[in-house]
Amino acid sequence: MTLQNFCTALILSVGLVHLTAADWTTYRGDYTRSGASTNPLPGTLVEAWSWTSTHPPQPAWQGEAKWDGWNKVFDLKPRQIFDRAFHVVVQGKRAYFGSSADDQVRCLDTQTGKVLWTFFTEGPVRLAPTLLNNRIFFGSDDGCLYCLDNLSGELVWKVRVAPEDRRIPGNGRLISAWPVRTSVIVQEGLVFATAGMFPADGVHLIALDAASGAEKWRQIQTDLPAQGYLLASKTRLYIPAGRNNPAVCDIATGRRTRVVEGNGGTYALLTDDMLVFGPGQTGQLGAVEDSSSDQLATFQGNQMIVVGDRSYLHSDTALSALDRKRYLEFARERKRLSSRQNALGKKLKTLGTKPESASERDALKSQLTELGKGIDTATLGMDQCLIWKVRSTWQECVILSGETLIAGGRNEVVGITTSNGVVTWRQPVRGIAYGLAAADGAVFVSTDSGTIHCLRPSRQTASSSAALKP
C-alpha cells in the first residue's frame, strides 16, 4: 500500500457517510436518496452565480413511447432516464458535478462559481459523483471508476469495472460496452459500483477497497441492467434497473436477495422500512416493505420525501403532505383485505355453478362483499391522511432543506413552506430544473440547458418571508 493509499484508507475507514447540515455529498443528499437536508434556508433565495456548459446535458435515452396503443394509456413516464442535468454534490465550499456532454468532472467554488479544476474521462459522466472526506468517486461511460483527490483533482486510482476494454458506439458515443450507469456508494471503507448495460453480456456489481481500488468482490447479473442511482442501507444495496424493477443485494457479498415488484423506473427512495420507487408507466410510486417483494401501496407521484411520520408527495400537478404513519396503517389493512379477497375470489371460481355448492357460494359472496366494504373503508382512510395539497407546476424535482420544500420545473424553482404548502419565493432558472442540492447555505439547481444556478438567501429577506400566490 502506498503512503497515499494508506492515508486514504485512514480517511475512508471511518465508516458511513454522515450527512452534516452543510454538505450534500451524494445524489439527493445521502444513500437513501432522501432529498432532505437540515440545512436551513431562511427568506427568499436569489441567484448568487451561475455556470453554463458549452453543450447541454446529453441524456443517454430519449423518453418513452407516446402512448401504449393497445391499452390506450397516454403520457407514459420515462423509466430509463436519470441524467437530464448535471447533478451537483457539495462538500465545504466546493461543488462537483460530472458532464454527459464533455466527459469531464468539475469542481467549482461555491461562493463564486469559478472552476477550480477539471478532470477528463474517456466517456460521458452521467451521474453525480460521491464525496467522502477528501476523495471524490465517480464512474464514466468509459467503463471505469475513478477516485480523485477532491481538492486538487489529481487521480488517486482508476479501476476498470468492465470485464474487458471494448469500446463500441452506445447512445451516440464511442464508449465501453460496459458503461458505468449507476452512481457510486462509499460505505465502511468500500466502494460499490456497477458496469454494464446488457445482461446477456453480464452486468457487473463490484466492491472495491476505497483507499486502493482493490477489488473485494464481484457479482454478475445476467437478467437485469443497472441504470440509475444506487441506494444502500447498512446491510443492503439497491440497484435500479431502468424500465424494470430494482434488485436488492446483500452488501457484504453482492448476492441477490430479491427483485421487488412494481412498474419500473430509475427513481428510488429508501425509508426506514421500505423502498419507494417509480415512476412506473404513468407516474406512480410503489412502496415495498423491507421484508417482502410485492407492493404495499402506490402513490400518484414522481418523487417523495419522508421526514418522520410525514411524507411529501410530488406529482405532475400537485405537491402534498401526508400523515405517512396512518396512511401506511390503512395501506397494510387494505393489502391484507385484498389478499384475502383474491384468495376467496379464486375459491369462488373453483366452485363453479353446481347447485350443490350454492350455499357455499353465497357465503363466499357475502364475505367478499364485507371485504369490499373493508377495502373501501381502508381506501377512504388513506384518502383522509392528506394534510395539505397544493397545485404545482414544478413537476421535475423536489428536495427539503430545513423547513422549506424546494421544487423545480420549467424555467423556475420555488420555495414552499412545509407547514402549509405556501409558496414563499420563486426564482427563474435557465431551462427545466431537474436537479437540486442544498448545502453551504445555498441551493444548487441543475437544468437541462447545462446550467448550474447557485441560489442563496438574499440579505434583504433572510430574516423574513412572505407567502406568494401558488
Binding site: W70, D103, F120, P169, G170, G172, F198, D223, N244, L380
Partner: protein, 958 residues
C-alpha cells in the same frame, strides 16, 4: 333532429342557456359549457360546480357552430374531481345530461363517469355508450351492482344527441333527445360510490380502465334531483336548433405530395408539399392551446415550401396546411404533428474564434473530398496536434476519436478540443499504447493517419475497424519513405489500395462489401418472401456492436404489425411513426431522418410493406407515388407515378426492386391500414383480416422511370406478391364483386374465385395460372418462393394452418416451347399439409414462414420445401407476437426477449432485457443482426428500449 339554418346559433345558445338557467336550476350541482368564451387559464371556467382540470390537447371551438370541445379520444382528459369528494356528487337522486357527438363507438364508452367496475365490486354511475348504443349505468347501496340501461336503437356517429340519465331512488331512466328510451326499477336507495375514483367528462375511467370519447361535447350538466320527463323534453326542444343534422363532416384539404419536414438546424425546419392547383402557401402552426402562428405567403404556386424558425426543442408542434376553396374560404388539411425532440443531427460546433491552422483546414477539406466520407465515426492516428481533428469535425458530420499512445500528450489534446467546443460530444481522445485497440470491429467510417508515419498498430488491426461497404482509410505519406509504408501494408487487405501507392502522397483504401453477408431489401428479406437474408455470418454467439436511437418515442405502437426495417449495403432503414430514418448499420449513426406525416402503413399481415431498397436507394410508397430516397443522404431524389386509372384515385400499393426493375401495384385510395387506434390485428374480425388488393401490377425502370409492362386481371392480394428466379407470383380473386368494390380492403369472403398467376418478371408475360380453393386461409394468405416451388399458407377460423405447395418451373428454351412446358406443369400441386397451430397465443396463428435452403419453417414445424416431408416439429418456443426472420445459419424471433436459434448447434439463446415488437423487426444483414426498437408502448417492464446492432463474435474477431 331536423335540419335548421345555422343563424346566429351562438346567440340562440346564449338565450336558451340563460332561459334554462333561470327556469330549472333547482338541484344543479354542475354545468360545464365547452365554448371559447368559457375558457380561462388553459382550463374551463364552470358555469357552476367545480372547475375541471384539463390535460392533453384542448380544442374548444365554435368554428363551425355549435361551440364544443373536440375530443380525439387519444390524450385528452377532463377531470372534475374524485369520488372521495362527496360534495361533488348527488347522494341519491341524480340527473346527468350531455349534448354529445360520438365519432367512434367503443365497447365501453364514457361521456360522464364516476364509476368502478371490477366484476364483483361495482360502484357509481356512468353516462355513456356500449358499442353503438347509448347507456346509463348506476349502482345503489341495495344491489351493489351496476344496472346498465341501453338505448334500443344504435346512435349514428357524427350526429349530435341530447343524452340524459336520471335516477330518483328507485327508477333509473335513459333519455335520448328528450325521449325516455330505457328504464329499470332494479336499483333502490342511495347511490353507492367508489371511494377513490376520478370523476371525469369525456371518458369512462375507473382505477383499471380508461376509455376516451372520440367525438365532441357542447355541455354537460349534473343535478341532485331526477328531472321530470317533461323538463327533459323541454330542455331538448329549447336547444335542438343549435345542432346541425348531421354535424358537418370536417372538410380537409390533402396535399397532392407531402408534406415533408426537413431540419435545417436545431431551431429551423422546412416544410414542403405540393397541391394539385396553384395555391397560396400557408401553414397554421400551434405549439399549445394559446400559441398559434401563421406562416407562408400569398404567391400562387403548386410547390410549397415554408421555413419555420425559432423552433423550441422538445416540443410538439401541430400544423395545418391551409388552402382556399373555390369560394375563397380557407380549408385546412388534417392536423399534422412535428415533434422537435426528434432531432438526430450531430451537435453543431460552437462558433468560437478559429484557433486551427490554415493547413489543417485545407487538409481536412482534401481528406473529405478524396474519401467522400462525411458521416459516422472517424478515427485519427498520428495527430501532430488537435487542429486536423477539430477541422474534420467542423467540416463534416462525423464524430471523431483521436487515438493517442502518449499519455503525456493526451491532456493537452483534450484541452484543445475543449477550447474548440467539441470535446466529448463531437471529439474525444482515447489513450492507448497497445497494438490491439479496444475499439469494436467494423465501426469506423473513416480512418485518417495524419503525420505521414505508419502508425504503431498494424494495418490488419486498422482493417478490422473499417466498416464494410465503404469504410475508408487514408494516409498522408509525404513525410516518409515508400518502403516503410510497403512494409506496414504488407499482408493486410489494406495493401489493395484503391488510390495511390507507397511513395505517393495520399494512400487510400476503401473496404468492399463483406463477403458472405446478406441484405434485407424487402419486408420478408428478399422479394421471394423467404424471411431469410442468406447471410452466412450471423449465427453462433452474438454481442452488442452498437446501441442507441431511435428509441421508442418516434416509433409506432408495437402492436400494429408495422413494416419491417430494411438493410442493404451497410445501411439500415427504419420507419417510425411517420418518420423515416437512415442509419449506418455498422455503428448506428443516424445518417438522416425526416418527418413524413402521410407515410404510414400497418397490418402488413394483410397487405404489404411500403418500403424496399437496393444498393443506393430506399423506395417508399407515398400516396400515388413511389419515392426514391438517396440511401446515404435521405434526399428525395426520385418520384415515380402510378399508371393512371379512369375510375377514381389510386395509391401505390406493393413495391419491390429486383433484377433492375421497380415493381409496383395500384390500389384504390385509402385502402391501406394505418394502425392509428392501437390495433393489434389479432382477431377473426372483418376490420382486422380484410385483405388489401390491387388492380394493376406493373414494372418500371428505376433509373429512367420508363414504364415497361402492366398486368391486370383480378383483385391481386398484396400479401401474396412474390418474386423469384425471374418470375413473379401472386393470388388474385376474379370475383367481379371484389374487382369492382369501391375500396380495395376486402373481406376474405368476397375474395373468391382465386387464381395463382405466374408472370415473367422481365416482360410481364403470363407464364401460367391455376385456380385453387384457398378459402381455408381466412386469417391471412402468405406466399413464398424457393427451389421452383411456390408455397401458399394461411390459417382458418379454427387457427389450423393450411399449406399448399405448387410447382413453379423456370422458363427455359424458346418462348414458345418453354411456355408449353411451363404451362403444363406450372401450378401443379406438389403437396399440402394441415395442422392446428402449436403456440396457442400471441399470434401463433399468424406466423409467417421462413425458408432456408430446402427447409420451410412454419408455426412450430419444418418441412422439405419440395417434397413436404416433415423435418422437425420441435422449433423453440416463441412467446412474443412477432414473427421469425433468418440468416443462413440461424433463426431470430422474440421469445421473452430478442432470441436466436442457432441451427448448427441447435442452441437457443436470449438477449435479456430487450424486446422487439409484434411483427418482423430483427433482421440479419451485412454480417450483423439489426434490431431497431419496436417495442414502443409495451406495458411490460423489459429493462431496455433501444435500437441495437449485434455482431457475431466470429466477425468481431475477424
Amino acid at each position: 333532429m331536423k335540419k335548421r339554418p345555422l343563424i346566429s346559433t351562438f346567440l340562440l345558445g346564449l338565450i336558451a342557456g340563460s332561459l334554462l338557467l333561470a327556469a330549472d336550476e333547482s338541484g344543479r350541482m354542475g354545468r360545464w359549457i365547452f365554448a371559447p368564451e368559457w375558457l380561462q387559464n388553459n382550463g374551463l371556467r364552470p358555469a357552476s360546480g367545480k372547475q375541471p382540470t384539463f390535460s392533453g390537447r384542448l380544442n374548444v371551438t365554435r368554428n363551425p357552430e355549435p361551440a364544443r370541445i373536440e375530443l380525439s379520444g387519444q390524450d385528452e382528459r377532463i377531470l372534475i374531481g374524485n369520488t372521495s369528494e362527496k360534495e361533488l356528487l348527488p347522494a341519491r337522486d341524480i340527473t346527468v345530461e350531455a349534448w354529445v357527438r360520438v365519432d367512434r363507438p367503443l365497447k365501453l364508452g364514457g361521456i360522464v363517469s364516476a364509476v368502478q367496475d371490477d366484476g364483483d365490486f361495482e360502484r357509481g354511475w356512468v353516462l355513456g355508450f356500449v358499442n353503438s348504443s347509448f347507456s346509463f349505468a348506476l349502482c345503489s347501496e341495495t344491489t351493489k351492482k351496476l344496472t346498465y340501461l341501453t338505448a334500443p336503437t344504435p346512435f349514428e356517429t357524427n350526429r349530435w344527441y341530447h343524452l340524459v340519465g336520471t335516477y330518483d331512488g328507485s327508477l333509473l331512466r335513459l333519455y335520448v333527445n328528450g325521449q325516455s328510451v330505457a328504464s329499470s326499477l332494479t336499483q333502490s336507495g342511495a347511490i353507492l360510490y367508489p371511494t377513490n375514483t376520478p370523476i371525469v367528462i369525456g371518458a369512462y375511467q375507473d382505477q383499471d380502465e380508461h376509455y376516451r370519447l372520440s367525438g365532441a361535447l357542447t355541455e354537460v350538466g349534473l343535478f341532485r334531483r331526477a328531472l321530470a320527463p317533461s323538463e327533459l323534453l323541454a330542455r331538448f326542444d329549447a336547444r335542438q336548433q343549435e345542432f346541425p343534422e348531421p354535424a358537418p363532416l370536417p372538410r380537409f384539404v390533402k396535399p397532392s405530395f407531402g408534406p415533408f419536414v426537413d431540419w435545417n438546424d436545431r431551431t429551423t425546419a422546412t416544410v414542403t408539399w405540393e397541391t394539385d392547383t396553384e395555391q397560396p402557401t400557408q401553414i397554421e402552426l400551434k405549439s399549445g392551446p394559446k400559441s398559434s402562428s401563421t406562416w407562408g405567403d400569398r404567391r400562387l404556386t403548386r410547390q410549397h415550401s415554408v421555413r419555420l424558425t425559432q423552433l423550441l426543442p422538445d416540443r410538439e408542434y401541430r400544423y395545418n396546411l391551409v388552402s382556399p376553396d373555390q369560394a375563397g374560404t380557407p380549408v385546412r388539411s388534417r392536423q399534422y404533428l412535428f415533434d422537435t425532440s426528434f432531432y438526430y443531427q450531430p451537435l453543431a460546433v460552437p462558433a468560437l474564434p478559429s484557433l486551427t491552422s490554415s493547413t489543417s483546414v485545407t487538409r481536412s477539406k482534401e481528406i473529405l473530398q478524396t474519401t467522400s466520407v462525411h458521416q459516422g465515426y472517424c478515427l485519427l492516428f498520428g495527430a501532430t496536434n488537435a487542429d486536423l481533428a477539430i477541422e474534420l469535425v467542423r467540416q463534416s458530420k462525423m464524430d471523431l476519436i483521436l487515438i493517442e499512445p502518449d499519455l503525456r500528450r493526451v491532456h493537452a489534446l483534450r484541452q484543445s478540443l475543449d477550447a474548440a467546443g467539441v470535446q466529448g460530444v463531437r471529439a474525444t481522445v482515447q489513450h492507448t499504447p497497445h497494438p490491439r485497440l479496444s475499439i469494436g470491429s467494423l465501426i469506423a467510417n473513416l480512418i485518417v493517419v495524419e503525420n505521414g508515419q505508419p502508425p504503431w498498430v498494424s494495418a490488419v488491426e486498422l482493417h478490422r475497424l473499417l466498416r464494410p461497404s465503404g469504410g475508408t482509410w487514408i494516409a498522408d505519406s509525404a513525410n516518409t519513405d515508400a518502403v516503410a509504408w510497403s512494409n506496414w501494408l504488407k499482408g493486410s487487405p489494406l495493401q489493395s489500395l484503391t488510390q495511390g501507392k507507397p511513395g505517393e502522397r495520399l494512400l487510400v483504401f476503401t473496404r468492399p462489401r463483406l463477403p458472405g453477408s446478406g441484405d434485407w431489401a424487402h419486408q420478408y428479406g428478399n422479394a421471394d418472401n423467404s424471411s431469410c437474408s442468406r447471410d452466412e455470418w450471423v449465427k453462433g454467439e452474438l454481442q452488442p456492436a452498437w446501441w442507441g436511437d431511435p428509441g421508442p418515442r418516434p416509433m409506432p405502437d408495437r402492436g400494429n404489425r408495422n413494416p419491417a426495417p430494411l438493410s442493404v449495403n451497410g445501411r439500415l432503414f427504419i420507419q417510425g411513426d411517420r418518420l423515416l430514418f437512415g442509419l449506418d448499420a455498422y455503428n448506428g449513426s443516424i445518417l438522416w431522418s425526416f418527418s413524413c406525416p402521410e407515410i404510414r402503413r400497418a397490418n402488413v399481415t394483410r397487405d404489404c410493406s411500403n418500403m424496399s431498397a437496393d444498393k443506393d436507394t430506399l423506395f417508399v410508397a407515398h400516396g400515388p407515388f413511389c419515392l426514391g430516397i438517396d440511401a446515404q443522404t435521405g434526399h428525395r431524389s426520385q418520384r415515380f407515378s402510378l399508371p393512371p386509372a379512369i375510375d377514381g384515385p389510386r395509391d401505390w400499393g406493393f413495391l419491390a426492386v429486383d433484377s433492375g426493375l421497380l415493381l409496383g401495384t395500384r390500389t384504390k385510395r385509402n385502402s391501406s391500414y394505418l394502425g392509428d387506434d392501437g390495433e393489434w390485428y389479432e382477431e377473426d374480425a372483418v376490420d382486422q383480416i380484410s385483405r388489401v388488393t390491387s388492380d394493376l401490377l406493373f414494372a418500371v425502370d428505376p433509373l429512367t422511370g420508363k414504364a415497361l409492362w402492366n398486368y391486370s386481371g383480378g383483385a391481386i392480394l398484396n400479401s401474396t406478391l412474390t418474386l423469384g428466379d425471374g418470375m413473379i407470383f401472386f393470388l388474385e380473386s376474379r370475383n367481379p364483386e371484389a374487382i369492382t368494390a369501391p375500396v380495395a380492403r376486402q373481406n376474405p369472403s368476397i375474395l373468391t374465385d382465386q387464381w395463382m398467376v405466374a408472370l415473367d418478371l422481365k416482360t410481364g408475360r403470363k407464364l401460367w395460372q391455376k385456380d385453387h380453393d384457398f378459402s381455408a386461409c381466412k386469417f391471412m394468405t402468405y406466399l413464398v418462393y424457393a427451389k421452383n416451388t411456390v408455397v401458399v399458407t394461411g390459417t382458418d377460423a379454427g387457427k389450423n394452418f393450411h399449406t399448399f405447395a405448387f410447382n413453379a418451373p423456370s422458363v427455359r428454351g424458346s418462348a414458345s416451347t418453354g411456355d408449353e412446358i411451363v404451362n403444363s406443369i406450372g401450378g401443379r400441386l406438389l403437396w399440402s399439409e394441415s395442422h392446428k397451430e402449436g403456440k396457442g397465443h400471441h399470434s401463433g396463428h399468424l406466423q409467417h414462414p421462413v425458408v432456408i435452403g430446402d427447409s420451410f419453417y412454419s408455426d412450430q414445424r419444418s418441412f422439405n420445401m419440395v417434397t413436404g416431408a416433415l423435418l422437425r416439429s420441435d422449433l423453440p418456443e416463441r412467446r412474443g407476437c412477432g414473427v421469425m426472420s433468418a440468416a443462413q445459419g440461424a433463426i431470430f424471433f422474440r421469445h421473452h426477449f430478442h432470441s436466436m436459434w442457432d441451427l448448427d448447434s441447435n442452441k437457443h439463446t436470449q438477449f435479456e432485457g430487450i424486446r422487439s415488437g409484434c411483427w418482423l423487426s430483427m433482421i440479419p444483414a451485412g454480417g450483423m443482426l439489426l434490431a431497431p426498437e419496436t417495442s414502443a408502448g409495451c406495458s411490460c417492464t423489459h429493462a431496455i428500449q433501444t435500437s441495437i446492432g449485434y455482431i457475431p463474435k466470429s466477425l468481431a474477431r475477424h
